[in-house]
């Protein structure tokens, strides 16, 4: 029997978002001496968009890069005994599972067991109850019939069950991001779901790892202040964990990027609010006593994570259709660029208020001057400036007219406008509710080669 107390588990992060680079994941699968490779690919809104793809084709609705990722990474994972855990199932984990089996067959693999976890989809249920939306404090009925999806962030236990039943690959839909990393730890070390101290440490590990290259120097560089080597070949992180939940973060020696106490600190606070109370379906993690120690170059030990009992509530993302955004952009350059840009905006304001009365909300920017921070700094005089208008409309037809008004500045606006860009976007927005965890019953499906 393997000595569980002394063994260490190595988990790699294979993606920080749906469209992330694939070759760093392949490098980890080949050379990372991993036990698990986790692909976190599901942002807040991704699943609502996936739900729309599924409604057009019931076989779709999983991550668009699933197939490519599997073709690239599966052979090395199988060869090296690396199990995969991913939320690339998005709105359709079962079809994703079938696709992975198909890919494995095409690759000539002989033996593979894939699990798909469903049950996060709770639309029918929550529509029967008029829950309060956390963002607006109004109830769900305020969104009328525009709701298209409702997915609960579920905890690690269903993935643990899949691993216990011998799954090589576990595919989920909406799943708490750090819980993707907790599942293998609970399974490997027989952690209890009542041991909140360990689950807290596991959650901090998951939080640090879930954004892929964010902790290896991606999204960190600021030349002259924070220099990062070889970002074009950024390596993704590896966590090496003990049964007591202590762990280090590192990367492959030849990969680009760096792991330092500074990259770890930035990522620890990324997208968190109260550091003492980081809520997940499994635990309330406490980041407030975490410290980082460099044990060797590019290897950081993470100390001091804690946790306390979970809330018993699950967050549910409600996806709803919210009209359209029409957008147009045009550039002005040379002396007087800003004056001509401002003239263009005043023309657009008049045109929109006169001819497009249905526009609900409109915003004008001078990119290069005030698009990011409003009128914080007006004492700058850029040599080139890009006018942008974005407007919210009820219909696509109306949204198209926004870009067309910008384009018409070519013949009706100030001198020298160039490089028009037009765009129309159907808006799928997200709000959230909380429901009791006992109302959600995850189910695990299996398919084997």
């Amino acid at each position: 029997m393997i000595d569980k107390k002394n063994k260490k588990i190595r988990i790699g992060s294979g993606a920080g978002y749906s469209g992330d680079r694939i070759e760093p994941a392949l490098q980890l699968a080949k050379k990372g001496e991993l036990d698990y490779l986790v692909f976190e690919c599901l942002a807040e809104r991704t699943i609502a968009l996936a739900q729309q793809r599924k409604s057009l084709n019931p076989k779709m609705g999983y991550d668009p890069l699933l197939e490519e990722r599997m073709y690239m990474c599966l052979p090395a994972c199988i060869q090296n005994g690396v199990k995969i855990i991913t939320n690339m199932g998005a709105a359709n984990p079962v079809s994703a599972m079938e696709k992975v089996i198909e890919v494995a067959k095409n690759l000539g693999l002989k033996k593979l067991k894939v699990a798909a976890i469903t049950g996060d989809e709770v639309l029918t249920f929550v529509q029967k109850n008029d829950y309060e939306l956390l963002e607006t404090k109004k109830t769900m009925s305020s969104l009328g019939n525009s709701i298209i999806s409702a997915n609960a962030y579920i905890g690690a236990s269903a993935a643990v069950e899949a691993l216990e039943n011998g799954a090589d690959i576990v595919i989920t839909g909406r799943f708490s991001d750090p819980s993707l990393f907790i599942a293998p730890l609970v399974y490997e070390f027989s952690w209890s779901f009542n041991d909140y101290e360990l689950l807290g440490k596991g959650t901090i590990l998951g939080h640090l790892m879930e954004c892929g290259g964010h902790i290896t120097g991606g999204y960190f560089a600021d030349p002259g202040y924070k220099d990062v080597p070889d970002l074009a070949n950024l390596g993704f992180p590896i966590a090496e964990v003990t049964s007591q939940g202590s762990f280090t973060i590192s990367k492959l020696p030849n990969a680009g990027g760096m792991v330092t106490t500074a990259t770890c600190k930035e990522q620890l606070l990324y997208e968190i609010h109260d550091p003492k109370n980081y809520l997940t379906p499994d635990v309330i993690a406490d980041f407030s006593e975490v410290t980082f120690k460099e044990v060797e170059k590019n290897k950081i030990e993470v100390i001091g994570g804690k946790g306390k009992e979970k809330t018993g509530k699950l967050k549910v993302s409600i996806g709803y259709e919210d009209g359209f955004i029409g957008e147009g952009q045009i550039s002005y350059g040379g002396p007087g660029a800003i004056e001509r840009a401002q003239l263009a905006i005043s023309i657009l304001k008049t045109r929109i208020s006169t001819y497009l009365p249905e526009v609900k909300e409109v915003r004008f920017d001078c990119i290069g001057q005030n698009s990011l921070y409003g009128n914080t700094k007006l004492d700058i005089n850029p040599y080139e400036i890009r006018v942008r208008v974005a407007a919210r409309t009820s219909t696509r037809k109306e949204a198209i007219k926004i870009g067309n008004e910008v384009e018409a500045l070519y013949t009706n606006g100030p001198a020298g406008g160039g490089g028009v860009f037009k765009n129309v976007q159907k808006v799928v927005a997200i709000q959230s509710i909380l429901i009791k965890e006992t109302l959600v019953q995850p189910e695990v499906h299996y398919k084997s080669l």
């Binding site: 807040e44 956390l134 921070y373």
Partner: protein, 102 residues
């Protein structure tokens, strides 16, 4: 002196709420962050952008502050009309804040 000289930062988003970390390069400067990077100053610094409340969390364990900015993303990432819907660039502006060293 600009905040950028002693601290670095990353910005994240959840719905219509942004958070900006301010991490001291050197532990010795944490007390300066505590004293100089106050909620009032941050509110003033972002008066053009942030419409709601601002909360500051203190993390002496890593010599860092975490600012949570409510109603900061033009209605939220998924429906905002802004160019930078996530507000990812907010931290860059915070680094431009002037601080007194004495």
């Amino acid at each position: 002196m600009k905040l950028r000289e002693i601290a670095h930062s990353r910005t994240g988003d959840k719905g219509n709420i942004a958070n900006i970390s301010v991490v001291a390069y050197h532990d010795k400067d944490y007390s300066l962050l505590l004293k100089e990077v106050t909620v009032e100053k941050v509110k003033k610094h972002f008066s053009e952008v942030v419409k709601g409340e601002i909360i500051r969390y203190e993390l002496p364990n890593i010599s860092a502050l975490n600012f949570v900015l409510y109603d900061a993303l033009g209605g939220g990432v998924t429906r905002s009309l802004a160019l930078d819907k996530h507000g990812k660039s907010l931290g860059g502006h915070l680094m431009d804040m002037s601080i007194k060293t004495k």
